[in-house]
């Protein structure tokens, strides 16, 4: 007795485990129905939906006996199949609205056939030649080299505005100590140093005054003073020679020989 009980229990447990595995392996109630339909060994178009509904209900009943928790959608499907079964078995009630049992059965058969068809289509798709497995792309592609070219744009209006801005700027600028008439010594020294190599002959200091500093007396004075100071500095450094024929006579300078 004990042995029997043990054996029964083991068999039961095994069956239960098998069912659990199966339930895990199914992708929903429609998938389970599709598997069950295969046991009928007929074309899906000639399937007996009534028989299928019974098979499903037996499966669910078995699971219940084995205390296997089925997901809700399996139970919903079971309820719907029980309803379908009753509609198929009972003579049609003329007073009842809604689709007939045959219509519902036909739709279930359609769903199963469609799922089956999609399974087959998926298998055929995956069986096709695949990129990277059966055919290959260029192994050493040459990316399109994108070079950026900047085009600067300016309109005539931009140009005119810029010029107008320059010509009127001084009239609007905030007050500042005006040093525009001061020619700095640093500038004169820098300018003169640059020009010395070309000064092989005696040239008047006046000629070395910068552009724009020869007109207005105040500006010219500043330029003369700074340029003169610069010549003294360069003479001291031995870069140039200075010559003056008389007091207040024009000052001449030239590059020192050998420089």
């Amino acid at each position: 007795m004990t042995d029997d009980w043990v054996n029964d229990s083991i068999a039961e447990r095994r069956a239960a485990e098998a069912l659990i595995v199966d339930v895990d392996g199914f992708e929903g109630p429609l998938d389970l129905l599709l598997m069950l339909s295969r046991t009928q060994k007929v074309d899906l178009r000639r399937i007996s939906v009534l028989q299928l509904a019974e098979q499903y209900l037996v499966f669910v009943e078995k699971a219940r006996e084995l205390r296997i928790e089925l997901a809700a959608d399996y139970l919903v499907m079971a309820a719907w199949l029980a309803y379908l079964k009753s509609r198929l078995l009972l003579p049609p009630d003329p007073g009842e609205d809604g689709p007939s049992g045959e219509e519902l059965a036909a739709h279930l058969a359609f769903q199963l056939e469609r799922l089956q068809a999609m399974r087959e289509a998926a298998a055929r798709l995956m069986g096709r030649d695949q990129k990277g497995r059966d055919f290959f792309v260029r192994g050493d592609p040459q990316p399109l080299a994108v070079s950026r070219k900047t085009v600067y744009d300016a309109s005539l209006l931009d140009l005119m505005r810029a010029y107008a801005r320059l010509r009127t700027r001084d009239e609007f600028r905030p007050y500042a100590f005006d040093r525009t008439d001061i020619y700095p010594l640093e500038a004169a020294l820098e300018r003169l140093s640059r020009m010395v190599p070309g000064a092989a002959d005696w040239t008047s200091l006046q000629a070395y005054l910068p552009e724009g500093w020869r007109g207005a007396p105040a500006r010219k004075r500043s330029a003369v003073a700074s340029t003169f100071a610069a010549t003294l500095e360069l003479a001291k450094q031995g870069q140039i020679e200075l010559r003056q024929s008389d007091t207040f006579a024009p000052l001449h300078l030239r590059r020192r020989a050998g420089q």
Partner: protein, 217 residues
């Protein structure tokens, strides 16, 4: 004066290159690219006045039966090695990601029923679609979002991509294996459950509009 920009701007000044030259230009352009290029993309890189369509036809003929073939992928073109030589390519073979059964089935449903909503995919498979499945297919760039369905809730739809066609060596979604037979058997129809009693149908979303018109030819 040979600046490409100048070419396209001064249409009449430069005659189009001879067809043989156009063909070799396209050959070089397609050869250099791993991804398929549309005819428009190719044309944009050719000098003005070229006939990309005709040059592509010439090039296609030239590569018939060669080790490399000119294939059409959607509205694009690419050079690909001939599939019968796959066995020589061991060193180039890339390990394809193992797809779950759900992912493969979902991909097939999208390809054959596109544009298709999530609810429709779930109805066909009879089971809820996990988030990861769609994500995986999106990540592979095999599917993308299509237009929203003009039904209540305006659900998004999914369609397959050029990358999908390229990966499976398809000229277009019309060339999916067995598409015609499936359509003729009515298996691509969207048939609502009679009397609306199904477990996984969403009444609001039951589309009467067939997706299959996309594949009418």
């Amino acid at each position: 004066m040979t600046h490409p920009l100048a070419d396209s701007q001064n249409k009449s000044l430069f005659p189009a290159p001879p067809m043989a030259e156009q063909e070799r230009m396209i050959e070089a352009i397609l050869f250099a690219s791993a991804a398929p290029l549309t005819q428009a993309e190719i044309a944009a890189r050719l000098p003005h006045g070229c006939d990309a369509a005709e040059a592509l036809a010439h090039l296609h003929r030239r590569y018939v039966g060669r080790g490399v073939n000119l294939v059409r992928v959607g509205d694009a073109y690419a050079l690909r090695t001939a599939p019968d030589l796959a066995y020589l390519m061991q060193s180039e073979r890339v390990e394809l990601r193992k797809l779950s059964r759900a992912a493969i089935e979902t991909l097939a449903i999208i390809a054959y029923h596109q544009p298709v909503t999530r609810a429709e995919i779930e109805e066909i498979r009879g089971v809820a679609l996990s988030r990861g499945t769609i994500d995986q297919l999106l990540e592979l760039e095999w599917i993308r979002l299509g237009r929203r369905r003009m039904t209540p809730g305006r659900p998004v739809t999914f369609v397959v991509t050029t990358e999908f066609l390229d990966h499976f060596g398809l000229e277009s979604a019309r060339d999916l294996p067995g598409l015609r037979e499936l359509r003729e058997a009515g298996l691509l129809d969207s048939r609502p459950m009679p009397g609306r009693a199904g477990v996984d149908e969403d009444g609001d979303d039951a589309p009467e509009t067939g997706q299959s018109e996309l594949f009418e030819d």
